[in-house]
């Protein structure tokens, strides 16, 4: 997008009034948030979680953006059709796919290799949104560790095993939302 693009709407930042220039109201407003939490913590409502001694409570695990998984269809095959749309949408360029002709008659194309560099990934969830067959999803697994960079590059088998490990706790979102399997 160039600066002369007609779709760009150029707006002027409003000028600061007297209250804004004094900074005091803003300062008090900001400090009030801190004081609110301070008062809460004195009454026993703690915000800080002492991880890893204590596990955090995720608001809604179904929309949490953690480690990826590759879903399977009813026959246990990888759902991915190797369309590269996740790789296209990925702003971090961390998805690498090799697509080949599928060995099954009802499918045209499937990924021979599907790797995600979990270290390069920024967990934005764009791959999940781009996927036309709901094959890639982000799970609520947040405690991702590894001993080497290579270990953090997840291949197809590993991503499928994430599905096997999480499918009961986190059913496929598409079915919940009324999508197709």
């Amino acid at each position: 997008m160039k600066p002369d693009d007609p779709d760009i709407l150029w707006v002027q930042e409003p000028e600061l009034g007297l209250a804004g220039r004094m900074y005091m109201p803003m300062f008090v407003q900001g400090l009030s948030t801190t004081l609110k939490h301070l008062a809460g913590s004195l009454r026993g409502k703690q915000v800080t979680v002492s991880y890893p001694d204590e596990e955090p409570q995720l608001g809604n695990p179904l929309i949490y953006r953690g480690v990826h998984r590759l879903n399977r269809d009813e026959q246990g095959r990888v759902k991915c059709v190797a369309c590269f749309l996740c790789a296209t949408a990925c702003p971090a360029h961390c998805i690498d796919i090799i697509g080949v002709e599928s060995p099954w008659p009802d499918r045209e194309k499937y990924p021979e290799s599907f790797t995600i560099d979990e270290l390069r990934c920024i967990y934005c969830g764009m791959c999940e949104e781009a996927c036309p067959v709901d094959a890639i999803e982000l799970t609520s697994l947040y405690n991702l560790t590894g001993r080497s960079r290579e270990e953090m590059i997840f291949d197809k088998e590993k991503l499928l095993s994430v599905y096997d490990a999480t499918k009961d706790k986190e059913p496929m979102q598409s079915t919940r939302l009324g999508g197709t399997l």
Binding site: F84, L85, E101, D106, E108
Partner: protein
């Protein structure tokens, strides 16, 4: 001068020109969507996508009378006074209807279709189609079958434009493809036992406006929007077809023809289309080596170049073999560099590989037997600098007796280009500098092994069989360790900065009469070097 009116604009067309409505509109900068029409094939007017309103302006009164029905623009000749209207409501509705009809029988499997991103159906749907699908029928079966060794047909995706069928009938003349069945059951097919196997079969994939025909070599390997295309020249034979090199991160995925009315029209042969594999061959040499006693030692270019220059200057009599795979600029830089050291140096055009016979197809497209891109350009450079033209064979015979101190041999042939006997004939020369892409007998014995570049990595100009000079820039970077010929010669010649092919071409054009027509910036379709000699 005939005047055609397109959407109110008056367009002048030449007297001898025979244009149809689509071409006349193109002159006015208006695109009329079309599937079945192709400038290189006969007109069938079957897709109905190019329907427009047409009429005539009476030359005497200037009154315009329109035809009541829409007509296909591809089949309507543009004459003096012809009126085309492409933006009326009637035309817009007709396009939306055609688009809707095609999409009823076309699967929406764009994510797995290789054509997505360069598909006419996709583009036209966004421009002319409806937003909502009214018919919810999905009679799709995902049937696919190979039509030959190189092409797969995806039956459901076909829109029956019959471009591929007409191509096989009109250009290679082999008529392998046909339309079977009738009406909604129409399909493209081949006769049993007669697969699509002509030497230009790959063109049907480029011709297909949708994803019905897939190139098995390219299929599933890359999405089109990941690739960047670069204008290049095919180095497969002396035709010198204009091509696009589609690459992603310095890896070629496919070559496609680039329309050039003077050379290849709209086509290219399969030999050239799949002739890029050597660029990514594992056997390619990527390390420059210098012989130190019996040992070959890998050296950095920065240290090797001054050493090479010093060795050449100390060698005495010199000779240089200029491969027909070198560009004009590279040949000029090498020849003038060698001549600057030894003014009597022999300049020898390298061997010219000839395979089979020239083959001419419909429309004049020719595959030449001479399997190198620039024999004429290199020979012209050599003749401009030497009195007699010594051939490769003569050089081999006489090399031992002439007392050369060093010889520079540039190769760059995709296939083996010499045997043990040639290497033996040159063994008497103390210093042999060999520049090549693959190991060969000469390479093994060389004093300097200099890894060279392939066609897509070079920059410069080729002169084809018809004395047409076409310039191009590099499409991919060479593998690490390879110095392209142009860059190496540029550095050896002691020139500063980056290798500038156009600067060298200008120098050649000013110095050599044969290249005089290349003084101006060379246009995309190339420049005919005979222009000045005929005048």
């Amino acid at each position: 001068m005939a005047i055609v009116i397109v959407d109110g604009q008056e367009i002048e067309i030449g007297d001898g020109e025979r244009l149809n409505g689509i071409q006349a509109a193109q002159r006015a900068g208006i695109e009329i969507p079309h599937y079945c029409w192709h400038p290189g094939l006969t007109v069938v007017a079957s897709c109905r996508m190019c329907l427009v309103e047409t009429g005539r302006r009476d030359p005497a009164s200037g009154a315009i009378s329109m035809m009541p029905k829409l007509v296909p623009a591809c089949q309507t000749p543009a004459r003096d006074g012809t009126v085309f209207v492409t933006n009326s409501q009637q035309v817009t509705d007709a396009r939306a209807m055609v688009e809707e009809d095609l999409l009823i029988r076309h699967p929406i499997d764009c994510p797995i279709c290789d054509k997505a991103g360069e598909c006419h159906l996709q583009d036209y749907h966004f421009q002319h189609g409806r937003e909502q699908r009214r018919a919810d029928i999905k009679p799709f079966t995902s049937r696919r079958r190979p039509l030959g060794d190189s092409v797969t047909l995806f039956v459901d995706r076909c829109v029956m434009c019959s471009r591929c069928v007409r191509f096989c009938r009109e250009i290679p003349g082999t008529s392998e493809l046909m339309v079977t069945n009738r009406g909604a059951h129409e399909e493209i097919d081949v006769f049993p036992g007669f697969p699509l196997a002509n030497k230009m079969a790959g063109n049907v994939v480029d011709l297909c406006p949708v994803g019905a025909l897939g190139d098995r070599d390219f299929l599933y390997s890359q999405r089109v929007w990941f690739m960047q295309n670069h204008d290049q020249i095919c180095a497969g034979c002396s035709t010198g077809c204009s091509i696009h090199v589609d690459e992603n991160q310095d890896r070629i995925y496919r070559l496609r023809p680039r329309p050039n009315p003077h050379v290849n029209q709209w086509w290219m042969c399969d030999e050239g289309r799949y002739g890029w594999k050597h660029a990514h061959d594992e056997r390619r040499q990527t390390a420059p080596r210098r012989r130190d006693g019996e040992q070959l030692r890998v050296e950095e270019w920065g240290e090797l170049i001054p050493q090479l220059d010093a060795d050449l200057r100390a060698a005495g009599r010199l000779a240089a073999v200029l491969s027909p795979h070198l560009t004009v600029e590279e040949a000029w830089l090498l020849a003038s560099y060698i001549r600057a050291i030894d003014p009597q140096a022999w300049l020898v055009p390298g061997p010219v590989p000839v395979v089979g016979q020239d083959e001419t197809f419909g429309g004049g497209f020719t595959i030449h037997a001479e399997k190198c891109p620039n024999r004429r350009g290199v020979q012209a450079v050599v003749s401009a600098l030497s009195d007699e033209l010594i051939t490769w064979e003569q050089f081999l015979e006489r090399a031992a007796g002439e007392g050369f101190g060093a010889v520079w041999i540039s190769g760059g042939y995709p296939a083996a280009w010499h045997g043990e006997s040639e290497a033996e004939q040159l063994a008497a020369i103390p210093l042999r500098i060999v520049q090549d892409i693959f190991p060969s007998p000469l390479w093994e014995q060389a004093g300097y092994q200099l890894p060279g570049a392939v066609f897509a990595e070079r920059e410069g100009s080729y002169v084809n069989f018809d004395d047409r000079l076409q310039s191009f820039r590099w499409a991919i970077r060479p593998p690490a360790g390879v110095q392209t010929e142009g860059r190496l010669f540029w550095r050896l010649a002691g020139r500063r900065g980056m290798y500038q092919a156009d600067e060298v071409l200008l120098e050649v054009a000013r110095r050599v009469a044969y290249f005089a027509a290349a003084v101006q910036p060379v246009p995309e379709v190339g420049v005919d070097l005979k222009v000045l000699s005929l005048a």
